[in-house]
Symmetry: C2
Subunit: 380 residues, 2 copies
């Protein structure tokens, strides 16, 4: 039933090699022949069998995309962009979810290796050395992780964390908490480092809480601890945790941004839709996906691994393109951050206005629990 190159050859009265060339090296075949072959192929509904092609060329025209958690809203835009970019370059993409489990990551790379021309490792949780080792088996591009000798796409969360901390300090917050993310996350380390520096040079005190699961639940569970820690500003590992935290603070009667300012990271679509709208460090996820795919395919373009004439030479250990791309992040200020304890002036002003029409006028403060705010201050 499946129509092969052979059927097309028979139908158009040429040898199979001519049909093959019609598709993979058109300039080598007579224009007349070419149109005839193409017509027959079209007629018969012929599509080249990529598995067979892969067998001989050594290139599958597939790539793998290994994701820590598809359900984490950070990733879908990345997946979408990567898939789109790949398809434009005539590649298909395997997507696999590791559930944040490093051993699954490793297993998946092995399992996919023979079936793809390269793998995108997104926010991997395994060790650098393991990644390096795996990269000898199949070309790898790493997103959100810095591995020496491997092409990486990084988002400058360091810069973002710094901007966030400076923003909080600028608002008058002097005691700030950093909600750490999962163990093994490069982003996490980077944020801690940068936030520490920024806090120190801004004269603020930084408390690090974590590591924590990078989820809404993770943030929610920290609400009590955050309240007791005496901070007035929080930078969360990501938006999900920030949202969870706000949720938790809300049930504890702590108003955001009145009593606590919260900054997230990622700018997932969701963060525009919560109340209050989240102040957050926007990471260029789609761009990261596109860039990573480009780097993978470019790297892939050079060594025709396993091709016929090439012989030895291209042993897999050889150093490949090793570019590292750092993508800009942006602090987007919305409604979850407000003046800190220092700037009593602003606070008083805010507290004075009741929940009137001005709630509707501007972004304002939707929870409007004025009484609670005051009470909480007394406590502090």
């Amino acid at each position: 039933m499946p129509v092969t190159i052979r059927d097309v050859a028979r139908a158009s009265g040429v040898h199979i090699s001519t049909v093959s060339r019609t598709f993979s090296a058109p300039h080598l075949v007579n224009p007349e022949t070419r149109v005839r072959v193409l017509a027959c192929a079209e007629d018969l509904g012929y599509r080249p069998n990529r598995a067979a092609r892969a067998l001989i060329t050594g290139r599958t025209h597939n790539i793998g995309l290994i994701i820590a958690d598809i359900a984490n809203p950070f990733f879908p835009p990345l997946i979408k962009a990567a898939e789109s970019q790949a398809r434009h370059r005539d590649y298909h993409v395997f997507v696999a979810d590791t559930n944040e489990d490093p051993s699954v990551e490793e297993e998946l790379v092995h399992a996919l290796a023979k079936q793809v021309d390269g793998v995108l490792l997104c926010s991997p949780r395994m060790s650098n050395s393991l990644i390096e080792q795996l990269s000898r088996e199949v070309p790898l591009v790493v997103v959100n992780r810095q591995v020496a000798g491997l092409p990486c796409v990084l988002m400058d969360v360091g810069q973002g964390a710094r901007a966030a901390i400076e923003h909080l300090i600028g608002l008058g917050h002097t005691r700030i908490a950093l909600l750490g993310g999962p163990r093994g996350s490069w982003t996490n380390r980077e944020m801690r480092r940068a936030a520490g520096v920024a806090a120190r040079s801004g004269g603020a005190e930084l408390t690090v809480l974590g590591p924590n699961p990078p989820t809404e639940t993770g943030g929610l569970a920290l609400a009590e601890q955050v309240r007791r820690s005496g901070v007035s500003g929080v930078l969360a590992y990501n938006d999900l945790m920030a949202i969870g935290l706000i949720e938790g603070l809300d049930t504890l009667g702590v108003g955001v941004p009145q009593e606590m300012s919260v900054v997230g990271v990622d700018d997932i679509a969701l963060s525009r839709l919560t109340r209050p709208k989240l102040t957050t460090v926007a990471t260029p996820t789609a761009a990261a996906g596109r860039t990573a795919v480009d780097m993978l395919l470019q790297q892939d373009a050079d060594p025709p691994r396993g091709a016929r004439g090439v012989g030895v030479a291209t042993a897999a250990g050889v150093r490949r393109t090793t570019a590292q791309v750092m993508l800009q992040t942006d602090l987007v200020i919305r409604d979850s951050t407000g003046p800190g304890p220092r700037s009593g002036r602003h606070r008083a002003g805010a507290a004075a206005q009741g929940p009137g029409p001005q709630r509707l006028a501007g972004p304002g403060d939707p929870t409007t629990a004025t009484g609670d705010v005051v009470a909480s201050y007394a406590k502090e």
Copy 2:
């Protein structure tokens, strides 16, 4: 560099066919030989080449997952569940995004056909007849679409829409709007049908607005129209639209649920996190993903298409398993729906309580813009 069955054979002193059997039919090889071969394979890091295997067996152990829009939060849980289920059955999955474009859908099925054992079509936008035609090329399972003769996984949005309408009517709403989804969506047709019936038998008036893009923007754009239409209750095609609508209504000064009750569909994670929390029809997306994969693989288990000994007989036109699974939906009532104009009693009661501590006690109504409610009533 890539280690093949041949290397393992040489290392363990047996013929390649024995190595092959060690992996694909272990009971046919002497236990002693088997362990020796396995040891060598392990040593050398051998992994069977699935492409080569596919070439001869006709089964790739891959499936395709074609998604209207990965960035739509409805899909990631489905993708995640499907991928997980597939992997447990030793299948890998291609994910592709069509951007809601029917022609891309078709192209993708063609492109993937030779590389997969089956394709999951999730909420397809193309015509039934085209789907049917494509199913002759590769086994198909359809999610959120009813196609005669094809295995389908459906979510009972009809039942869900009915429950939602009844819920609204029960709250005293008699004029209700349905925000339609995209053209070509089975879910959309089903909802319209069921909502129409439910409204009629409940004595309510139903206005259908649409079709609309199933996004936040789509909902937001309808706010003005909804306000002017004079309805007090809205059932949206999905949560995203519902959230967009609430957003839009908010900027128009229309409070939810005080002046307008809004029900969504899907129960995406997000809907628990917005304010007000969304009343919505929960669809079992993860279960749908799992079920669809199971149906695909089961269907796939029967005909060893293209296998060697089989000869003709299993022409692809032959009717396959044609089960249709209908998955239950559940109305989950949260905070975006409230008493309608009829039940003035409840409203008054609600309006009487200020935004005090009881806001924190229960789910209550977080926006608490009591004044607005009254004003709005006057308007009406």
